[in-house]
Symmetry: C2
Subunit: 339 residues, 2 copies
């Protein structure tokens, strides 16, 4: 039995989306059990009239609410009875729990995971690794996408190792092609840190390093993993999502501007529907936090039930593939850098 | 008469695209004259049979060729007879020349401009400011997009001042809304440099600072200028271009997968054509280098004649609006930081 905590308060569609996502996952995976954290009375009401295997669902009361503007460090220190912090502490303390899924504040989740949960031995910094769909039907992981705004080349090497293992073990990508995000393809591009990272990655047998990648090639399908500092990785992921969404919006607006376009779009409705699904990040799960001692998956704040379900599935697969142990082994092969 | 140098060797469509772009500009602007740099015999052949006002066109022989893999510093030092370096040196030495347009190597152009041309008094670092189309039909400038991979908050303040003046004077945007590229909206987001830049920008009356911008909002139309370090600014611009291009490619491929889609697309052909034009960076001119003592505009390496023409038009308008003098005045109002 694999037990996963679902933080039911924090996202835009709470608690309905996390609760429904959890129930859908329970129905699909007979060896999954979930712990819902949050205000118990609200959660009980939300579960009323729904069918599920009650022996695999637990509710842990955590009624404190995290405000939008609260500092992550304050949340970690002062909001121990919030759905997120109570979840993280339980994840740390209970051996029977494997993972946690949350759609709450990214900053609080990262800080909480670092301070309360700790890292896999040898890992300097945990890092986010969201997945994006590529134009050839594959996926590409970006690591880090925002957990660490400042990094060293040693961090980037670890991100490359962790993300490679993630793509290989959880998504079956054989020997993932790893690129370094840079402003040009040549080895000497970028700042000193980037040049040093290029060298380090080239010298790391655990990583199938294929060189620098310019950001315009992210969706080309030529890369499986892109490593970056959390600042530019964040820009890379959010710009891709933002541009796709804005273009879809424009397409829709243009179509509705003339009846002949509407007619044309009617003939193409199936295609547009597929395209929308293809570009919908909700279908690609959450952003896993690689390197924490137990599995943490961060769903988008706007996640609906289907997105939360994907996040739970990711957490489940990470646990089944024993990713943490593999990360520890592989990271251990290289000299340890001081933080 | 405004005289502009057009570097005719360096881009993918050389020398035809620069030559044709220059001739088109000449035809449109009676007070423009151009100097074409490059291999004179090839340029003469390229001009054969074409109609233009020969009194406003000069050819300067510069037959040396810059290789793809040459280091920018080597180009500046050793290739003084290349079309680009000869152009930069002439721009520096001749008072009658106002500007230069090039579609050649970005690195060589930046280095050449810095070393040979110099900066507007008070400017610490020149920076690129390409323009992107926003979804409400406007434009947004990103400064810097790659000239400086490492920056300080003082640089970012200058980028904000220069880009604001550029948008206001050359494109008529009144009191441009300036944002700082960051990983979140709150003032305390990002690293120390970003937090310091936030504070500095808030305290700069010459800049209409509206706060941090997350990269997903670039095309929203809510910002006129986005300031960023050259690394993440480069990621921002290239990811936007890359995502738009990949999605257009996918749209085309999907349309051709079924006859009913092809029929639908036929009804929408005008719309798709407009959309393609809207997303085509060739229609938005080049990336101007702000802060050099004379105007330098960098066109995309893949520029066709129409894109080169746009670049010449930008250089022309920058000169007419006396942007350099305004930058000097405005930058001079703030304490001078050491580089």
């Amino acid at each position: 039995m694999i037990k996963i905590i679902v933080d039911c308060f924090g996202g835009d569609h709470c608690p309905e989306a996390p609760v429904e996502g959890a129930l859908a996952s329970l129905a699909k995976n007979p060896d999954l059990s979930v712990i819902l954290t949050g205000d118990e009375s609200i959660l009980r009401k939300c579960l009323e009239g729904k069918t599920y295997d009650a022996s695999r669902l637990e509710i842990v009361d955590a009624p404190e609410v995290i405000g939008c503007d609260e500092k992550p460090t304050d949340v970690v220190r002062l909001k121990r009875n919030s759905s997120m912090m109570k979840g993280i502490i339980m994840l740390r303390d209970r051996d029977d729990i494997a993972a946690m899924v949350s759609t709450g504040s990214t900053g609080a989740l990262v800080t909480g995971a670092l301070v309360r949960l700790g890292r896999i031995p040898g890992v300097i910094r945990p890092a986010f690794c969201p997945l994006l769909p590529t134009m050839d039907g594959g996926i590409v992981g970006v690591c880090d996408s925002g957990a660490n705004v400042e990094v060293t080349s040693a961090h980037l090497r670890q991100f490359a190792i962790m993300a490679s293992l993630y793509l290989e073990n959880v998504y079956g990508v054989k020997s993932p092609r790893v690129a370094l995000l840079n402003v040009g393809k040549e080895a000497e591009k970028g700042d000193d840190m980037r040049r040093d990272a290029y060298r380090l990655l080239s010298e790391t047998p655990s990583v199938n390093f294929v060189g620098n990648m310019e950001s315009r090639d992210l969706l080309s399908g030529r890369y499986d993993v892109v490593v970056a500092d959390g600042f530019s990785g964040n820009v890379l992921v959010k710009t891709t999502e933002g541009t796709a969404l804005e273009l879809l919006k424009k397409l829709k607006k243009d179509i509705f501007s003339r009846w002949i376009y509407k007619l044309g779009a009617l003939l193409m409705s199936r295609m547009f529907k597929d395209m929308k699904a293809f570009m919908n990040y909700q279908n690609y799960g959450g952003s896993v936090l690689l390197g924490t001692s137990k599995v943490v998956v961060k769903g988008h704040g706007s996640s609906k039930a289907v997105a939360v379900e994907k996040c739970i599935e990711q957490a489940y697969r990470m646990e089944v593939s024993r990713l943490s142990g593999q990360i520890e082994t592989e990271i251990g092969k290289y000299e340890h850098y001081e933080e």
